[in-house]
Subunit: 660 residues, 2 copies
């Protein structure tokens, strides 16, 4: 269905609520506004056919992907609002969107007068609104493949006793209206990773999961995998259906006697089909069934004497509702998510190797910036493009792992900022510059943030940067008992900031995959992350943001390793595998303790050892020189805080051999 | 019902399971075993009358008290096992107890062959056992006043679909069997605190709670208070029904137009009745109703157009089940629990004052020990008695706030160890000694732990002690954002231990009251504690325990106060209000940073300022002298770890004016 943009003055959008402007006054709305009247009319016709009083349009796809394909951007299409988070609900008379503060301005600019903006999130405000908008006895329709089990439960709970009923409709009504204009579902080949880039064969992984099924107290007969990364990991298969993530639309039903992969069969080459043993039907043969058949197939399988093991976090209600409760074995995360979280030694080596090459790309970019920023010819967008280009030139590159955040000055204080060709800021020696970027490589996924200043930073900028750095170091060098949850230790990344009355408003880190998700659950420092274990990789990324002025983030990826402690015990610590030096220009050495300096200098030595030879091998001599300079050992300077005075005196006396 | 102790050899108790020993072989069981055959027979008769296949006997009372009265020790009486934690279940053929590892040995020694010991906890293993022991269609009886809402829900959930049914029976069947032998319910006078010891009048508190009711989104018409400390706090009333806690059996139903206090009216003097305005019936008059009427009264009140606000954590199923769900307004903690958690300025001053006098008592004891332990005449039990005596001599004393933990050498490594007159260990200059004790005073409740060594501690003991001390200091001096949860910061108390591969297995702290509970929820560092706020008090108590050798704990009570940060913001920190110096003999100064030393010396200065004048006023000159010695400023010593070498050199150069 075609739609036109309104052309009008932005401030007049405010008139919507006051004068009930309709489409024939379209001269008075922002140019960015999308006319949704026709699509809404068509959607309401579909709702009427289904006898619905309301229809929920979530922002997810059927696999809880972080980045979703264009053909899944139903909420964006029906509302005009393209932000990544926000739920729409349409009744016969009204249409509304609920989104969080990051997107309020954008939503107001993009939505026409058909839509109300609600500045809240969660199901409670939506249900509260629904109860006033739809009559008793009304039906609230939803696509069960777009609601997670948890979300469905919260709608269901909130509506209990209200005489309004949730109705699951497997045909998506927005898709019916969208019709032929809806972008096609991706159809590129699905390919197998070369063995050099996999930690185990798919057969080994299948056997490992089956072994967990056998050991499980509730003896599941099958594991159902709904997250795309689960199927990609299990079979060592990749494609490019999702932006930034090398996945393909799929489900897997791995039973004790069969392997059923739901995907578009035409996308597999004969070599890949043979790699999957797909011509047979034994327990180690992958039968490929059509993606669209998954619900019916699960339902049919569930008729037998079976128990299906699911991870509730990634299973949508559309699958969940066809499995009788007594045949479900539920955990928060599937055994594949849990196994994938711990990398074996080959996967660790692969991920580390990708980080060495990634460091080369970042260092090339930093060296180039140092020369070109003073010329005044670099902007955030062209910079980001060059960063992506340098990464693309690295061996095994498969594009960026997320949209490069290239932010100068005050833009770095905005959450989720990315420049566009049209809207960007010039890089300058007078401002700080924040680069948060990462790559997909066949051997690993990377994610690193560095913040730099090419001129003279203010004392406050240096202090804030150094406190962020101390936070990074304090968490990175922390020794903690095995199986400690990240939530219990993430404050070590904040203490140095808190001490001065500073803080940051985001999480402290997330897991990362081997050519999989850049934000790989369930590893990390949030309350719903699992406990830390040897072999996990997580980012460590404290920051500080001064609204309207600058933003700092220092992000490294670290491997969880065993710690050697003075007294024996099962303890862990982190081994940082990101290899780009911090900006010496922004470090106030007087704030660092001897332990910080020692840690930092050891880290710099590691960078030299890992990245130096790679730069030399590639004849990147200017970069090699830069690396040597930027990894010179840092020396303690005279402390400037009162608390150090006593140690100075006492230490001096001690050195001079005086008794104290 | 009378019972006899078996007289026999301890190891033969193991025969129970093998030979089905019955009571006529009572010559072969430990002397500590209680014969429960008759009481069990009588209980099973009661169960038969009620048509029950099983009966659950929890370890709680009707108010979730931490310490329970003798007349509530039903589980102990019916099983013989007197440990504080453990649930019993009796079927027509079997009887079993579930308890945790702390109590396995004790339970085996105390229970006769009628009982099976299960070494698990939680409702799941109990229900799993029940399903094999009782027939389909069977009824499982329980006293609804002894199951919290959560516990009832977990039994209910586990039994769902099993064709076994939970049956709530308000008459306790154990009490019927116990009969006239059951200790009487306490009946001492209930008295009002003098105004000097209260933070607000009860009228102010009632108005405050009503104001919260009015502001509440769900407009509750009443608040129901089930925890004894809630009613005691609200009316500034105290008694001594519960060991260590100055409470009385009660409930309060505070409605928008009435105040209904459920208690034994005969326990109030005419002055107290007049203090409560109990002769009128207006909204500020306290109507006293009989304690036993609470369930019927709530049920009757719930017939009206009302909404009753409860804290689910302290409400038992016996109250919950008589309120229709749609008339319940639930929070985890009642508004009284939430309000009580934050002390106003008068309550803060009162609590601090009680800690100054408490420090005098502890210092008197430590000074006495220092002189008498070398004589070899002090044991753990006589020591604990003297500690309690010294506390009892302090102004406003109302007894200890919990059973004094006085533990020498290896005993200090045992959780929950308390000496008895019969079983105790001699204190010695060759061993460490741990004292964890506290007092109830009209103005406040105290809790402090100190660990001392009068001889020559080993290097490891000094290192462990110093690391525990560093943990205490690191958490005490932490600056953190307002509303941070304790769980997020408690690891600061562990870091110095973790660093060396050491740790402790208990929590890091708990709230404390004004002449209320020594473990006052919901303040603390656990995951179910509420966020920290200015005006809360919490203990900070890291430790280290070496099995079979020694135990260390350093516990202080601290007030949450606003922190002054370099940059403005809403930050908090702790102000320690326990005023007893640590043991210099156990501190390895070389492990302390300049910040630790600075903190410690400032704390010692505060101790001198707070406790010194009090000792002088009381003519406790020997104690005053001791205090001066033990609070001499500590000076840094030459560090002995490699990491300090660089700062020494660099600092020295800096002092000498050399450029580095």
């Amino acid at each position: 269905m075609a739609r036109a943009h309104w052309g009008c003055c932005p401030w007049l959008v405010l008139l919507c609520g006051m004068y009930k402007i309709t489409q024939d006054v379209h001269g008075y709305l922002p140019v960015t506004v999308v006319n949704t009247t026709m699509s809404l009319t068509a959607l309401r016709q579909q709702m009427q056919t289904q006898n619905l009083s309301a229809y929920i349009i979530p922002d997810t796809d059927a696999h809880m992907n972080e980045y979703i394909g264009q053909h899944d951007e139903r909420r964006a299409w029906i509302t005009g609002f393209t932000g990544s988070a926000g739920t729409a609900v349409v009744t016969m008379k009204k249409a509304a969107v609920w989104t969080d503060s990051r997107y309020w301005t954008q939503a107001e600019r993009q939505m026409d007068c058909n839509w109300e903006l609600h500045k809240e999130v969660g199901t409670t405000p939506i249900v509260t609104w629904l109860l006033t908008e739809i009559p008793a006895g009304g039906h609230v329709g939803f696509d069960p493949f777009l609601l997670s089990i948890d979300t469905w439960e919260s709608y269901d709970l909130a509506l209990q006793g209200s005489n309004r009923q949730l109705v699951s409709i497997t045909t998506n009504l927005v898709d019916l209206v969208w019709g032929s204009e809806r972008p096609p579902v991706p159809n590129q080949p699905i390919y197998a990773l070369q063995e050099a880039f996999t930690g185990s064969t798919w057969q080994e992984k299948v056997s490992g999961v089956r072994s967990q099924m056998q050991k499980h107290q509730k003896a599941p007969t099958a594991v159902l995998l709904s997250a795309l990364e689960e199927t990609a990991w299990l079979f060592n298969l990749r494609a490019s259906d999702i932006p930034y993530n090398p996945f393909f639309y799929s489900y897997t039903l791995l039973t004790d006697s069969s392997i059923r992969l739901f995907a578009n069969k035409s996308r597999f080459s004969s070599e890949t089909l043979s790699y999957l043993n797909s011509s047979c039907t034994g327990p180690m043969c992958v039968q490929i069934e059509d993606y669209s058949q998954v619900r019916d197939s699960i339902q049919a399988y569930a008729l037998g004497d079976v128990r299906i093991w699911i991870g509730t976090s990634y299973t949508m209600y559309g699958i969940y509702e066809v499995i009788p409760k007594e045949k479900l074995v539920t955990d928060t995360y599937s055994p594949v998510m849990m196994t994938k979280a711990v990398k074996n030694s080959k996967e660790q080596a692969l991920l580390k190797a990708s980080h060495v090459r990634d460091a080369v790309a970042v260092i090339r970019y930093l060296v180039w910036l140092e020369k070109n920023v003073p010329k005044g010819t670099v902007d955030e967008f062209s910079g980001a493009e060059l960063m992506d280009k340098f990464r693309g030139e690295e061996q095994f590159s498969s594009g960026p792992s997320f949209e490069t955040i290239s932010a100068s000055g005050l833009n770095a204080a905005l959450a989720h900022y990315s420049p566009t060709k049209e809207l960007n800021r010039k890089l300058s020696s007078d401002e700080m510059y924040l680069l948060d970027s990462g790559g997909q490589y066949w051997d690993g996924t990377t994610d690193i943030t560095r913040t730099v200043h090419w001129g003279t930073p203010s004392a406050f900028q240096k202090e804030a940067y150094t406190r962020v750095l101390i936070g990074n170091i304090d968490l990175s060098r922390l020794i903690f008992p095995a199986a400690t949850s990240g939530r219990m230790v993430e404050a070590f990344a904040r203490r140095a900031l808190w001490d001065a009355g500073l803080n940051y408003g985001h999480g402290t880190g997330h897991g990362i995959g081997n050519f999989l998700c850049v934000h790989e659950w369930p590893v990390g420092f949030q309350s719903n992350n699992i406990a830390m274990a040897k072999g996990m990789f997580t980012s460590i990324e404290p920051g500080y943001y001064k609204d309207g002025e600058f933003g700092i983030r220092l992000e490294d990826v670290a491997l969880v390793v065993e710690a050697k402690t003075k007294y024996p015990g099962s303890y862990l610590t982190f081994e940082v595998v990101s290899f780009v030096p911090y900006d010496r220009n922004l470090i106030d050495v007087s704030l660092l303790s001897p332990e910080h300096l020692q840690y930092l200098n050891r880290y710099y030595q590691t960078i030299r050892e890992k990245v130096g030879p790679e730069l030399q091998r590639r004849q990147l001599l200017e970069e090699f020189e830069w690396l040597q300079q930027h990894t010179e050992p840092l020396a303690a300077r005279a402390p400037d805080t009162a608390s150090w005075t006593s140690v100075l005196v006492v230490s001096t006396l001690a050195i001079l051999g005086w008794s104290v």
